[in-house]
Protein backbone atom coordinates (compact mmCIF):
# COMPACT_ATOMS: atom_id res chain seq x y z
CA UNK A 1 0.00 0.00 0.00
CA UNK A 2 1.34 3.40 -0.90
CA UNK A 3 0.04 6.82 0.01
CA UNK A 4 -1.20 9.21 -2.69
CA UNK A 5 0.66 12.33 -3.64
CA UNK A 6 4.21 11.03 -3.99
CA UNK A 7 6.28 12.75 -6.69
CA UNK A 8 5.85 10.87 -9.93
CA UNK A 9 8.56 10.43 -12.55
CA UNK A 10 8.33 12.52 -15.71
CA UNK A 11 9.61 10.26 -18.48
CA UNK A 12 11.70 12.05 -21.11
CA UNK A 13 13.08 10.98 -24.46
CA UNK A 14 15.98 9.19 -22.79
CA UNK A 15 14.15 7.57 -19.88
CA UNK A 16 10.80 6.61 -21.45
CA UNK A 17 11.87 2.99 -22.19
CA UNK A 18 12.87 2.52 -18.54
CA UNK A 19 9.48 3.59 -17.18
CA UNK A 20 7.64 1.60 -19.84
CA UNK A 21 9.55 -1.55 -18.86
CA UNK A 22 8.96 -0.83 -15.16
CA UNK A 23 5.21 -0.53 -15.75
CA UNK A 24 5.40 -3.99 -17.31
CA UNK A 25 7.22 -5.30 -14.23
CA UNK A 26 10.80 -5.35 -15.49
CA UNK A 27 13.94 -3.59 -14.22
CA UNK A 28 16.23 -2.24 -16.92
CA UNK A 29 19.52 -0.36 -16.79
CA UNK A 30 20.96 1.95 -19.44
CA UNK A 31 23.84 0.38 -21.34
CA UNK A 32 26.30 2.23 -23.57
CA UNK A 33 26.08 0.94 -27.14
CA UNK A 34 29.79 1.71 -27.63
CA UNK A 35 31.47 0.05 -24.62
CA UNK A 36 28.49 -1.87 -23.15
CA UNK A 37 29.01 -0.35 -19.69
CA UNK A 38 25.93 0.01 -17.49
CA UNK A 39 25.25 3.50 -16.11
CA UNK A 40 22.89 4.60 -13.33
CA UNK A 41 21.67 7.14 -14.24
CA UNK A 42 22.39 7.44 -17.96
CA UNK A 43 23.95 10.75 -18.92
CA UNK A 44 24.88 12.72 -22.02
CA UNK A 45 28.36 11.18 -22.17
CA UNK A 46 29.16 7.56 -21.22
CA UNK A 47 30.94 7.69 -17.87
CA UNK A 48 33.10 4.69 -18.77
CA UNK A 49 34.29 5.25 -22.37
CA UNK A 50 33.35 8.97 -22.42
CA UNK A 51 31.78 8.61 -25.86
CA UNK A 52 29.71 11.68 -26.68
CA UNK A 53 27.04 9.64 -28.44
CA UNK A 54 26.62 6.58 -26.22
CA UNK A 55 23.18 5.72 -27.66
CA UNK A 56 22.16 4.18 -24.35
CA UNK A 57 19.71 1.30 -24.56
CA UNK A 58 17.78 0.08 -21.54
CA UNK A 59 18.57 -3.58 -21.08
CA UNK A 60 16.74 -6.01 -18.79
CA UNK A 61 18.73 -6.99 -15.69
CA UNK A 62 18.16 -9.71 -13.10
CA UNK A 63 16.97 -7.33 -10.37
CA UNK A 64 19.22 -9.14 -7.89
CA UNK A 65 21.76 -7.31 -5.81
CA UNK A 66 23.47 -6.81 -2.45
CA UNK A 67 22.88 -4.18 0.21
CA UNK A 68 25.80 -1.74 0.47
CA UNK A 69 24.14 0.64 2.92
CA UNK A 70 20.78 1.76 4.25
CA UNK A 71 19.01 4.46 6.23
CA UNK A 72 15.76 4.43 8.19
CA UNK A 73 13.79 7.51 7.16
CA UNK A 74 11.82 9.04 10.04
CA UNK A 75 11.09 12.40 8.45
CA UNK A 76 10.37 12.88 4.76
CA UNK A 77 11.20 16.10 2.94
CA UNK A 78 8.89 15.13 0.05
CA UNK A 79 5.07 14.92 -0.06
CA UNK A 80 3.30 11.58 -0.07
CA UNK A 81 5.60 9.55 2.16
CA UNK A 82 4.37 10.58 5.62
CA UNK A 83 1.95 7.66 5.97
CA UNK A 84 4.82 5.24 5.29
CA UNK A 85 7.17 6.60 7.99
CA UNK A 86 9.44 5.18 9.18
CA UNK A 87 10.69 3.36 6.10
CA UNK A 88 14.01 1.95 4.96
CA UNK A 89 15.99 3.04 1.92
CA UNK A 90 18.65 0.65 0.66
CA UNK A 91 21.74 1.41 -1.41
CA UNK A 92 22.03 -1.68 -3.61
CA UNK A 93 24.87 -2.95 -5.79
CA UNK A 94 23.28 -4.80 -8.70
CA UNK A 95 24.77 -8.14 -9.71
CA UNK A 96 25.37 -7.13 -13.32
CA UNK A 97 28.43 -4.92 -12.77
CA UNK A 98 30.81 -4.03 -9.92
CA UNK A 99 29.72 -0.88 -8.05
CA UNK A 100 26.56 -0.48 -10.18
CA UNK A 101 24.39 1.09 -7.53
CA UNK A 102 20.78 2.18 -7.21
CA UNK A 103 18.68 3.34 -4.29
CA UNK A 104 15.13 2.31 -3.44
CA UNK A 105 12.75 1.61 -0.62
CA UNK A 106 13.02 -1.74 1.15
CA UNK A 107 9.50 -3.12 1.35
CA UNK A 108 10.11 -5.50 4.28
CA UNK A 109 9.21 -2.85 6.85
CA UNK A 110 11.31 -0.60 9.10
CA UNK A 111 12.20 -3.08 11.83
CA UNK A 112 13.95 -5.82 9.84
CA UNK A 113 17.56 -6.53 10.83
CA UNK A 114 19.92 -5.57 8.01
CA UNK A 115 23.55 -6.33 7.26
CA UNK A 116 25.98 -5.19 4.59
CA UNK A 117 25.83 -7.77 1.82
CA UNK A 118 22.23 -8.88 2.44
CA UNK A 119 20.68 -10.13 -0.79
CA UNK A 120 17.73 -8.24 -2.25
CA UNK A 121 15.62 -8.44 -5.36
CA UNK A 122 13.68 -5.76 -7.17
CA UNK A 123 10.00 -5.18 -6.38
CA UNK A 124 7.71 -2.47 -7.68
CA UNK A 125 5.41 0.05 -6.04
CA UNK A 126 2.46 1.54 -7.89
CA UNK A 127 1.80 5.09 -6.61
CA UNK A 128 -0.50 5.89 -9.56
CA UNK A 129 -2.20 3.92 -12.33
CA UNK A 130 0.32 2.80 -14.93
CA UNK A 131 3.29 4.03 -12.87
CA UNK A 132 5.70 1.53 -11.34
CA UNK A 133 8.60 2.63 -9.12
CA UNK A 134 11.44 0.18 -8.47
CA UNK A 135 12.04 -0.79 -4.85
CA UNK A 136 13.59 -3.84 -3.18
CA UNK A 137 12.67 -6.80 -0.99
CA UNK A 138 14.96 -9.10 0.97
CA UNK A 139 15.51 -12.46 -0.67
CA UNK A 140 14.37 -15.36 1.48
CA UNK A 141 17.24 -17.52 2.62
Amino acid sequence: MTSPGRPLPVPDDASAPFWKAAAAGGLTVARCSRCHWFSIPPDIVCQHCHHGDPAFAFEAVSGHGSVRSWTVVHQSFLPGFDDDLPFVLVDVELDEQADLRMIGRLLDGPYVALHIGDRVTVAFEHPAPGVAIPAFALETR
Binding site: Q75, F77, D99, G104
Partner: protein, 400 residues
Protein backbone atom coordinates in the same frame (compact mmCIF):
# COMPACT_ATOMS: atom_id res chain seq x y z
CA UNK B 1 48.33 19.99 -10.31
CA UNK B 2 51.91 19.03 -9.62
CA UNK B 3 54.80 20.53 -7.73
CA UNK B 4 54.74 23.30 -5.14
CA UNK B 5 52.44 26.31 -5.24
CA UNK B 6 54.23 29.09 -7.16
CA UNK B 7 52.60 31.76 -4.96
CA UNK B 8 53.26 30.00 -1.65
CA UNK B 9 52.90 32.53 1.21
CA UNK B 10 52.81 35.40 -1.31
CA UNK B 11 49.18 36.28 -0.56
CA UNK B 12 47.86 37.09 2.90
CA UNK B 13 44.64 37.60 4.85
CA UNK B 14 44.81 41.05 6.44
CA UNK B 15 41.41 41.63 7.97
CA UNK B 16 37.99 40.15 8.63
CA UNK B 17 34.48 40.70 9.91
CA UNK B 18 31.86 38.23 11.07
CA UNK B 19 28.19 39.12 11.54
CA UNK B 20 26.17 37.58 14.35
CA UNK B 21 25.18 34.02 13.41
CA UNK B 22 21.46 33.87 14.11
CA UNK B 23 18.37 31.98 13.05
CA UNK B 24 16.82 34.99 11.31
CA UNK B 25 18.51 38.37 10.92
CA UNK B 26 16.41 41.49 11.35
CA UNK B 27 17.82 42.95 8.12
CA UNK B 28 17.88 41.48 4.60
CA UNK B 29 20.92 39.32 3.90
CA UNK B 30 22.32 41.84 1.44
CA UNK B 31 22.27 44.60 4.06
CA UNK B 32 24.13 42.35 6.49
CA UNK B 33 26.64 41.55 3.73
CA UNK B 34 27.30 45.23 2.92
CA UNK B 35 27.77 46.05 6.60
CA UNK B 36 30.05 43.05 7.16
CA UNK B 37 32.11 43.86 4.07
CA UNK B 38 32.63 47.48 5.19
CA UNK B 39 33.73 46.30 8.63
CA UNK B 40 36.19 43.80 7.15
CA UNK B 41 37.70 46.44 4.87
CA UNK B 42 38.05 48.86 7.80
CA UNK B 43 39.52 46.10 9.95
CA UNK B 44 42.21 45.63 7.29
CA UNK B 45 43.05 49.34 7.52
CA UNK B 46 41.71 50.01 4.03
CA UNK B 47 38.99 52.09 2.43
CA UNK B 48 36.23 50.64 0.25
CA UNK B 49 37.81 52.32 -2.80
CA UNK B 50 40.99 50.27 -2.22
CA UNK B 51 39.15 47.00 -2.80
CA UNK B 52 39.22 46.07 -6.47
CA UNK B 53 38.42 42.35 -6.33
CA UNK B 54 35.47 40.31 -5.04
CA UNK B 55 35.02 36.55 -4.85
CA UNK B 56 32.52 34.24 -3.20
CA UNK B 57 30.71 30.95 -3.54
CA UNK B 58 27.06 31.98 -3.51
CA UNK B 59 25.36 28.56 -3.34
CA UNK B 60 22.09 28.41 -1.38
CA UNK B 61 22.40 24.85 -0.07
CA UNK B 62 18.73 23.99 0.21
CA UNK B 63 16.89 21.03 -1.28
CA UNK B 64 13.64 22.99 -0.91
CA UNK B 65 11.82 25.06 -3.48
CA UNK B 66 12.92 28.42 -2.06
CA UNK B 67 13.39 31.35 -4.41
CA UNK B 68 16.96 32.29 -5.22
CA UNK B 69 17.17 36.09 -5.21
CA UNK B 70 20.45 37.98 -5.19
CA UNK B 71 20.70 40.22 -2.13
CA UNK B 72 17.92 38.32 -0.35
CA UNK B 73 18.65 34.57 -0.27
CA UNK B 74 22.15 34.72 -1.78
CA UNK B 75 24.74 37.47 -2.21
CA UNK B 76 26.95 37.28 -5.30
CA UNK B 77 30.28 39.05 -5.75
CA UNK B 78 28.88 41.48 -8.29
CA UNK B 79 25.86 42.27 -6.11
CA UNK B 80 28.12 43.09 -3.20
CA UNK B 81 30.51 45.22 -5.26
CA UNK B 82 27.61 47.12 -6.83
CA UNK B 83 26.03 47.83 -3.44
CA UNK B 84 29.35 49.01 -2.03
CA UNK B 85 29.63 51.37 -4.99
CA UNK B 86 32.65 49.64 -6.48
CA UNK B 87 33.27 48.82 -10.14
CA UNK B 88 35.60 45.85 -9.56
CA UNK B 89 38.59 44.99 -11.71
CA UNK B 90 37.92 41.37 -10.81
CA UNK B 91 34.71 39.71 -9.58
CA UNK B 92 34.07 36.00 -9.63
CA UNK B 93 32.01 33.26 -8.05
CA UNK B 94 33.02 29.66 -7.36
CA UNK B 95 30.46 27.27 -8.81
CA UNK B 96 30.99 23.95 -7.07
CA UNK B 97 30.80 22.53 -3.58
CA UNK B 98 33.61 23.54 -1.25
CA UNK B 99 32.68 27.20 -1.72
CA UNK B 100 35.20 28.51 0.79
CA UNK B 101 38.39 26.92 -0.59
CA UNK B 102 36.98 27.62 -4.06
CA UNK B 103 36.41 31.32 -3.37
CA UNK B 104 39.73 31.66 -1.53
CA UNK B 105 41.57 30.08 -4.47
CA UNK B 106 39.98 32.62 -6.83
CA UNK B 107 41.06 35.46 -4.54
CA UNK B 108 44.59 34.15 -4.05
CA UNK B 109 45.04 33.63 -7.78
CA UNK B 110 43.74 37.13 -8.51
CA UNK B 111 46.17 38.77 -6.08
CA UNK B 112 49.12 36.58 -7.10
CA UNK B 113 48.63 37.39 -10.78
CA UNK B 114 47.93 41.09 -10.26
CA UNK B 115 44.36 40.82 -11.51
CA UNK B 116 43.40 42.71 -8.34
CA UNK B 117 45.31 44.25 -5.43
CA UNK B 118 42.85 43.86 -2.55
CA UNK B 119 40.26 41.12 -2.81
CA UNK B 120 37.25 40.76 -0.54
CA UNK B 121 36.13 37.14 -0.02
CA UNK B 122 32.70 36.88 1.52
CA UNK B 123 30.15 34.21 2.28
CA UNK B 124 26.51 35.00 2.96
CA UNK B 125 24.13 32.27 4.13
CA UNK B 126 20.39 32.55 4.51
CA UNK B 127 17.79 30.67 6.49
CA UNK B 128 14.46 31.06 4.70
CA UNK B 129 11.08 30.99 6.40
CA UNK B 130 9.53 27.51 6.46
CA UNK B 131 11.25 24.15 6.23
CA UNK B 132 14.81 24.44 4.95
CA UNK B 133 14.86 21.23 2.86
CA UNK B 134 11.14 20.46 2.55
CA UNK B 135 10.08 20.34 -1.10
CA UNK B 136 6.46 20.11 -2.32
CA UNK B 137 7.36 18.58 -5.69
CA UNK B 138 4.69 16.37 -7.26
CA UNK B 139 6.61 15.61 -10.42
CA UNK B 140 10.22 14.47 -10.62
CA UNK B 141 11.88 15.36 -13.92
CA UNK B 142 15.48 15.14 -15.12
CA UNK B 143 17.91 13.38 -12.80
CA UNK B 144 15.41 13.66 -9.91
CA UNK B 145 13.23 11.01 -11.60
CA UNK B 146 15.78 8.39 -10.56
CA UNK B 147 15.60 9.16 -6.82
CA UNK B 148 12.64 11.29 -5.64
CA UNK B 149 9.81 8.89 -6.65
CA UNK B 150 11.80 6.24 -4.75
CA UNK B 151 11.74 8.40 -1.58
CA UNK B 152 15.43 9.28 -1.67
CA UNK B 153 15.80 13.01 -1.30
CA UNK B 154 17.80 15.70 0.46
CA UNK B 155 21.15 15.93 2.22
CA UNK B 156 20.21 14.08 5.42
CA UNK B 157 19.58 10.81 3.59
CA UNK B 158 22.63 11.67 1.49
CA UNK B 159 24.96 11.65 4.51
CA UNK B 160 23.11 8.82 6.30
CA UNK B 161 24.15 6.25 3.67
CA UNK B 162 27.95 6.72 3.85
CA UNK B 163 27.77 7.14 7.63
CA UNK B 164 25.93 3.83 7.88
CA UNK B 165 28.65 2.24 5.72
CA UNK B 166 31.25 3.64 8.12
CA UNK B 167 29.35 2.44 11.19
CA UNK B 168 28.93 -1.06 9.79
CA UNK B 169 32.47 -1.36 8.42
CA UNK B 170 34.36 -0.04 11.45
CA UNK B 171 31.98 -0.52 14.37
CA UNK B 172 31.66 3.18 15.18
CA UNK B 173 29.34 3.86 18.11
CA UNK B 174 26.72 6.55 18.55
CA UNK B 175 28.24 7.41 21.94
CA UNK B 176 31.42 8.40 20.12
CA UNK B 177 29.62 10.68 17.69
CA UNK B 178 28.08 12.31 20.74
CA UNK B 179 31.63 13.29 21.73
CA UNK B 180 32.11 15.02 18.37
CA UNK B 181 29.00 17.11 19.04
CA UNK B 182 30.00 17.84 22.63
CA UNK B 183 33.40 19.06 21.40
CA UNK B 184 31.99 21.26 18.61
CA UNK B 185 29.37 22.81 20.89
CA UNK B 186 31.87 23.27 23.75
CA UNK B 187 34.03 25.39 21.47
CA UNK B 188 31.09 27.14 19.81
CA UNK B 189 29.72 28.06 23.23
CA UNK B 190 32.86 30.17 23.78
CA UNK B 191 32.36 32.25 20.62
CA UNK B 192 30.25 35.40 21.13
CA UNK B 193 28.90 35.60 17.55
CA UNK B 194 27.90 31.90 17.46
CA UNK B 195 24.26 30.89 17.42
CA UNK B 196 25.25 28.44 20.16
CA UNK B 197 27.13 30.98 22.35
CA UNK B 198 27.03 29.84 25.98
CA UNK B 199 24.95 26.81 24.97
CA UNK B 200 27.04 23.65 25.11
CA UNK B 201 25.48 20.25 24.41
CA UNK B 202 25.69 17.20 26.64
CA UNK B 203 26.24 13.66 25.49
CA UNK B 204 22.88 12.76 27.06
CA UNK B 205 21.08 15.43 25.02
CA UNK B 206 22.66 14.10 21.83
CA UNK B 207 21.76 10.50 22.59
CA UNK B 208 18.16 11.44 23.43
CA UNK B 209 17.57 13.24 20.11
CA UNK B 210 15.19 11.50 17.72
CA UNK B 211 16.50 10.11 14.44
CA UNK B 212 15.70 11.90 11.19
CA UNK B 213 17.48 9.56 8.77
CA UNK B 214 18.89 6.88 11.04
CA UNK B 215 21.83 6.92 11.91
CA UNK B 216 21.57 10.73 11.47
CA UNK B 217 19.76 12.71 14.17
CA UNK B 218 19.10 16.43 14.23
CA UNK B 219 22.29 17.27 16.13
CA UNK B 220 24.38 15.67 13.37
CA UNK B 221 23.34 18.56 11.10
CA UNK B 222 24.40 22.17 11.47
CA UNK B 223 21.49 24.51 12.15
CA UNK B 224 20.38 26.83 9.31
CA UNK B 225 21.19 30.48 10.00
CA UNK B 226 21.47 33.96 8.57
CA UNK B 227 25.09 35.05 8.67
CA UNK B 228 27.84 36.76 6.69
CA UNK B 229 31.61 36.68 7.01
CA UNK B 230 34.17 38.62 4.97
CA UNK B 231 37.95 38.54 4.66
CA UNK B 232 40.40 40.84 2.88
CA UNK B 233 43.27 39.35 0.87
CA UNK B 234 46.27 41.21 -0.47
CA UNK B 235 49.90 40.58 -1.38
CA UNK B 236 52.40 39.65 1.32
CA UNK B 237 54.32 42.81 0.38
CA UNK B 238 51.41 45.20 0.87
CA UNK B 239 50.35 43.29 3.99
CA UNK B 240 53.47 44.49 5.83
CA UNK B 241 52.08 48.05 5.90
CA UNK B 242 48.64 47.09 7.28
CA UNK B 243 47.65 47.07 10.96
CA UNK B 244 47.21 43.37 11.69
CA UNK B 245 49.70 40.55 11.58
CA UNK B 246 49.19 38.88 8.14
CA UNK B 247 48.22 35.24 7.79
CA UNK B 248 49.73 33.74 4.64
CA UNK B 249 48.16 31.27 2.22
CA UNK B 250 50.53 28.35 1.77
CA UNK B 251 48.37 26.62 -0.81
CA UNK B 252 45.07 24.91 -1.41
CA UNK B 253 43.58 21.81 -2.95
CA UNK B 254 40.19 20.83 -4.28
CA UNK B 255 38.85 17.85 -6.16
CA UNK B 256 35.83 16.31 -7.81
CA UNK B 257 34.91 12.64 -8.14
CA UNK B 258 34.88 11.09 -11.61
CA UNK B 259 32.43 8.31 -10.72
CA UNK B 260 28.99 9.49 -11.71
CA UNK B 261 26.19 8.65 -9.29
CA UNK B 262 22.53 9.17 -8.66
CA UNK B 263 21.75 12.70 -7.37
CA UNK B 264 23.16 13.16 -3.83
CA UNK B 265 24.41 9.55 -3.72
CA UNK B 266 27.77 9.72 -1.92
CA UNK B 267 29.12 6.21 -1.27
CA UNK B 268 31.82 6.06 1.42
CA UNK B 269 34.46 4.76 -0.99
CA UNK B 270 33.85 7.71 -3.35
CA UNK B 271 34.28 10.14 -0.46
CA UNK B 272 37.49 8.58 0.75
CA UNK B 273 39.15 7.82 -2.60
CA UNK B 274 38.76 11.36 -3.95
CA UNK B 275 39.34 12.83 -0.49
CA UNK B 276 42.73 11.11 -0.16
CA UNK B 277 43.67 12.50 -3.58
CA UNK B 278 42.71 16.02 -2.48
CA UNK B 279 44.80 15.68 0.68
CA UNK B 280 47.74 14.37 -1.34
CA UNK B 281 47.47 17.44 -3.60
CA UNK B 282 47.40 19.68 -0.53
CA UNK B 283 50.65 18.27 0.87
CA UNK B 284 52.31 18.41 -2.53
CA UNK B 285 51.11 21.95 -3.19
CA UNK B 286 52.05 23.38 0.19
CA UNK B 287 55.15 21.35 0.99
CA UNK B 288 53.59 20.64 4.36
CA UNK B 289 53.17 17.30 6.07
CA UNK B 290 50.36 16.33 8.44
CA UNK B 291 52.68 16.67 11.44
CA UNK B 292 53.36 20.34 10.60
CA UNK B 293 49.76 21.36 11.19
CA UNK B 294 48.82 22.80 14.60
CA UNK B 295 45.24 23.62 13.67
CA UNK B 296 43.61 21.20 11.25
CA UNK B 297 40.07 22.61 11.20
CA UNK B 298 37.98 19.77 9.80
CA UNK B 299 34.64 20.43 8.16
CA UNK B 300 31.59 19.33 10.08
CA UNK B 301 28.41 20.53 8.38
CA UNK B 302 27.33 16.93 8.94
CA UNK B 303 29.09 15.25 11.83
CA UNK B 304 30.41 12.19 9.89
CA UNK B 305 32.59 14.56 7.84
CA UNK B 306 34.73 14.97 10.97
CA UNK B 307 35.73 11.29 10.78
CA UNK B 308 36.26 11.44 7.01
CA UNK B 309 38.49 14.53 7.12
CA UNK B 310 40.54 13.28 10.09
CA UNK B 311 41.32 10.19 8.04
CA UNK B 312 42.04 11.73 4.64
CA UNK B 313 44.32 14.32 6.27
CA UNK B 314 46.29 11.48 7.86
CA UNK B 315 45.62 12.61 11.43
CA UNK B 316 44.65 9.00 12.11
CA UNK B 317 44.52 5.85 9.97
CA UNK B 318 41.51 5.12 7.74
CA UNK B 319 38.66 3.60 9.72
CA UNK B 320 40.05 4.73 13.08
CA UNK B 321 38.78 8.30 13.46
CA UNK B 322 35.95 7.14 15.70
CA UNK B 323 38.45 5.47 18.01
CA UNK B 324 40.69 8.56 17.85
CA UNK B 325 37.74 10.68 19.01
CA UNK B 326 36.72 8.16 21.68
CA UNK B 327 40.27 8.36 23.05
CA UNK B 328 40.02 12.16 23.43
CA UNK B 329 42.04 12.85 20.28
CA UNK B 330 40.23 16.07 19.26
CA UNK B 331 39.73 17.66 22.70
CA UNK B 332 40.81 21.29 22.22
CA UNK B 333 41.58 21.59 25.95
CA UNK B 334 43.74 18.48 26.25
CA UNK B 335 47.51 18.92 25.87
CA UNK B 336 48.77 16.80 23.00
CA UNK B 337 45.37 16.35 21.39
CA UNK B 338 44.54 17.70 17.90
CA UNK B 339 42.23 20.75 18.21
CA UNK B 340 40.30 19.81 15.08
CA UNK B 341 37.12 21.67 16.06
CA UNK B 342 38.61 24.45 18.17
CA UNK B 343 36.70 27.05 16.17
CA UNK B 344 33.42 25.28 16.89
CA UNK B 345 32.89 24.36 13.26
CA UNK B 346 29.47 24.52 11.64
CA UNK B 347 27.98 22.31 14.36
CA UNK B 348 29.11 24.77 17.04
CA UNK B 349 28.36 28.03 15.15
CA UNK B 350 25.52 27.39 12.71
CA UNK B 351 25.40 26.73 8.96
CA UNK B 352 28.18 29.11 7.93
CA UNK B 353 29.69 26.42 5.66
CA UNK B 354 33.50 26.47 5.89
CA UNK B 355 33.68 29.94 7.46
CA UNK B 356 34.21 28.81 11.08
CA UNK B 357 37.19 26.70 9.97
CA UNK B 358 38.72 29.57 8.00
CA UNK B 359 38.01 32.14 10.70
CA UNK B 360 39.60 29.98 13.40
CA UNK B 361 42.76 29.63 11.29
CA UNK B 362 42.86 33.39 10.72
CA UNK B 363 42.16 34.42 14.33
CA UNK B 364 44.61 31.97 15.88
CA UNK B 365 47.43 32.48 13.37
CA UNK B 366 47.14 36.29 13.52
CA UNK B 367 47.10 36.22 17.31
CA UNK B 368 43.63 37.78 17.41
CA UNK B 369 41.66 34.98 19.13
CA UNK B 370 41.47 36.86 22.43
CA UNK B 371 40.57 34.68 25.40
CA UNK B 372 40.60 31.64 23.11
CA UNK B 373 44.14 32.34 21.82
CA UNK B 374 46.20 29.15 21.61
CA UNK B 375 49.86 29.07 22.48
CA UNK B 376 50.95 27.14 19.42
CA UNK B 377 49.31 28.34 16.21
CA UNK B 378 51.73 28.46 13.29
CA UNK B 379 50.06 26.36 10.58
CA UNK B 380 46.34 25.84 10.06
CA UNK B 381 44.22 23.98 7.53
CA UNK B 382 40.65 25.02 6.83
CA UNK B 383 38.55 22.25 5.29
CA UNK B 384 35.18 22.57 3.67
CA UNK B 385 32.44 20.25 2.37
CA UNK B 386 32.81 16.52 1.84
CA UNK B 387 36.40 15.43 1.17
CA UNK B 388 35.36 14.28 -2.33
CA UNK B 389 33.65 17.47 -3.47
CA UNK B 390 35.31 20.07 -1.28
CA UNK B 391 38.79 21.13 -0.47
CA UNK B 392 41.14 22.71 2.00
CA UNK B 393 43.32 25.81 2.34
CA UNK B 394 46.59 25.87 4.28
CA UNK B 395 47.49 29.01 6.24
CA UNK B 396 50.78 30.00 7.83
CA UNK B 397 51.64 32.60 10.46
CA UNK B 398 55.09 32.93 8.89
CA UNK B 399 56.05 34.06 5.43
CA UNK B 400 59.19 31.97 5.12
Amino acid sequence: MSGPFAARNEVAVVGYAQSPVQRHASQPLGAVAVDTARRAIADAGLDVVDVDGFTTGALFPTAGAHTIQDGVSIVSSNWLAEHLGVNPRYASGFQGYGQIPGAVALAVNAVATGAADHVLVHRALHNPAGRYHGNPMREAAGTMQWTAPQGYFGPLAMIALPYQEYVQRYGARRETMAEVLVEARKNGARIPWSHWYERPLTSEEYLAAPMIDDPICKYDCDIPVDGVAAFVFTSAERAQDLPHRPVYVSGYATGHPTTRRLPTHWPLDDIMTTGFETARRLWEHTGLRPGDVDLPQVYDGFSPFVYFWLEVLGICPEGQAHQFVADGGIDSDAPGAVPALSGGGALGNGRMHGIPQMLECYLQLSGRAGARQRERADVGIACHSSPHFGGAVAYSAHRA
